[in-house]
Amino acid sequence: MNRAKAKRTIESAITYASVILAVLLSLFPIVYLLVTSFKPPELTFAVPPVWSFQPTLQNYREVFAGGTFARYFVNSLVVALAATGLALALGTFAAYGFARFRFRGASWMRLGSLVAQMLPPITVVIPLYVLFNAIELTDSRWALIISYLTFTIPLSIWMMSGFFADVPEELEESAMIDGCSRLGALFRISLPLVAPGLAATAILSFMYAWNEFLYAVILTGRNSRTLPVTITSFMTNKAILWGRIAAAGSIVLVPALVFALIAQRYLVRGLSRGAVKG
């Protein structure tokens, strides 16, 4: 009896220890980046590493000096919001169509949107670069918004069809019998019910666009640059300005992580739905 109890205690201690180790390993590089961003530059490379010091905003001031960083922040925000908003509007309708209608070619179209999402960006960006050059759209926010739709639309379709499939069809049918049009039933009955799913899809799509690098590094220039590209500009030929990279990196990271924490319950559900329900 006592041996069994001791065994169970040890087992649960090992479980907790392993999970906490995983948490610490996950957090360590992120915390290290945040801490480095507040270090005075002369301590960045100190060996052994210094963990207690007078925090300073010097790196942040240097990042914002000159005013271009703020402009690139706005670029990132506008591009990510536009790519998300447009994709959500189009993708939600399409997802609703897939969830409610049986029609010939439906599975082919669904497959098509999956393939679009799987396309390696490097294969799309070369011809897009030539195209945008020809119509003089390079170095504009539109060039990025258009390219980002290639992954935000399929993502919205994929996640939202799962959430719509969870809304019982009978709810809409009874509304339609009471004289509601299908569109009315969609807006009054189903959309409010999938609101959390809509929020999770918006957050995920925003984060993909906010974090994107390959399209941005090729299609943007001095006017339309986004933050991930801006960070790499602190790697100059002479030196890598780690303090500024840490500060700029933290500025990019923090909104994404806060969003992720807020929506994590729905994110996991939305992401895993494909896995669980097929």
Partner: protein, 303 residues
């Protein structure tokens, strides 16, 4: 009854209109997607049969037939980039699924603060790739990186993580494992929590060992989830670009040059667009083959 009569009436009144109804919902998204993708994909298909170089394109873009495709496979660097990509994929996926499965099984217990721990484990997966690449480049620095500092403190020799060809790819794998193990773990956890309870109770009553339950119940029941997670991880590792670009830029001596980096180099450094397009189409072809094989397996495992 009422429902049937109502829908029947509606069907009779405007059956053809009803048949067009899905088009109204689905067409806009697909038209936009097709409008954006059709031209680029068509143009690069055309390019892949032509010679387009920065020096020559003003004199014309001659048709070269399959030369670009044939040239790919006699190009040592292309073959090497494929080998690097698949080595990376094999290493990263093995570790991610081992650790991910372990983590999912641990989190499936009734732990205090499980929600919080799950959220914190999720964070690496939401980080900006550029920031991940640069942070790890600092951590892996030979002279003042924290990884080597702690290795030395533990009495081990410092490692040339990024500057030694043999270590570059393992370093990229470590960063990818840090980045996406949580994705695998959370998908598997969701799959575990959706499993029926009865077979597990029956096995416990029959006195099955932990390993027997895992091997003969959990794994087979979890197969669809594992395959879907595998599909997404294979697609993502096959096209990896950002983290490699910032961590090693494919070096040293191309030891960590993945296919995406290779195509990038031919497209935007030597501007050999015909050749780069042929490489792009090989990438798409390989991706489609892997996706179709896995989709087949997923379909069979669910039937």
């Amino acid at each position: 009854m009422r429902l049937q009569r109502a829908t029947a009436a509606r069907q009779g009144r405007r059956g053809w209109l009803r048949r067009l109804e899905p088009v109204f919902y689905i067409a806009p998204a697909f038209l936009v997607l097709a409008a954006i993708l059709a031209y680029p994909l068509g143009y690069s298909f055309w390019l892949s049969f032509h010679e387009w170089t920065l020096r020559g394109f003003r004199q014309g873009v001659p048709w070269v037939g399959l030369d670009n495709y044939v040239g790919l496979f006699s190009n040592v660097e292309f073959v090497s980039s494929l080998r690097v990509t698949f080595t990376f994929m094999a290493g990263a996926l093995t570790l991610e699924f081992l650790f991910g499965m372990a983590l999912a099984l641990l989190l499936d217990h009734d732990l205090k603060g499980r929600g919080l721990m799950r959220s914190l484990i999720l964070l690496p997966m939401m980080c900006t790739n550029v920031v991940i690449g640069l942070t790890w480049r600092l951590l892996f620095n030979y002279n003042f990186g924290l990884v080597n500092y702690y290795l030395v403190r533990l009495g081990l020799a410092p490692v040339e993580w990024l500057s030694k060809p043999a270590m570059a790819l393992p370093s990229v794998i470590i960063v990818d494992v840090w980045n996406t193990t949580s994705f695998v773990a959370l998908l598997l956890l969701a799959g575990l929590q959706a499993l029926p309870e009865e077979p597990f109770e029956a096995a416990r009553i029959d006195g099955a060992s932990w390993w027997q339950v895992f091997r003969y119940l959990t794994l087979p029941l979890l197969r669809p989830t594992i395959l879907v997670a595998l599909l997404w991880r294979i697609i993502d590792t096959f096209r990896i670009f950002d983290v490699v670009y910032l961590l090693t830029a494919g070096g040293p001596a191309r030891a960590s040059e993945t296919v995406s980096i290779y195509v990038y180099r031919y497209g935007f450094q030597t501007f050999n667009l015909g050749f780069a397009s042929a490489a792009s189409y090989m990438m798409i072809l390989i991706m489609l083959i892997m996706a179709v094989v896995l989709a087949r397996l997923i379909g069979r495992s669910e039937a």
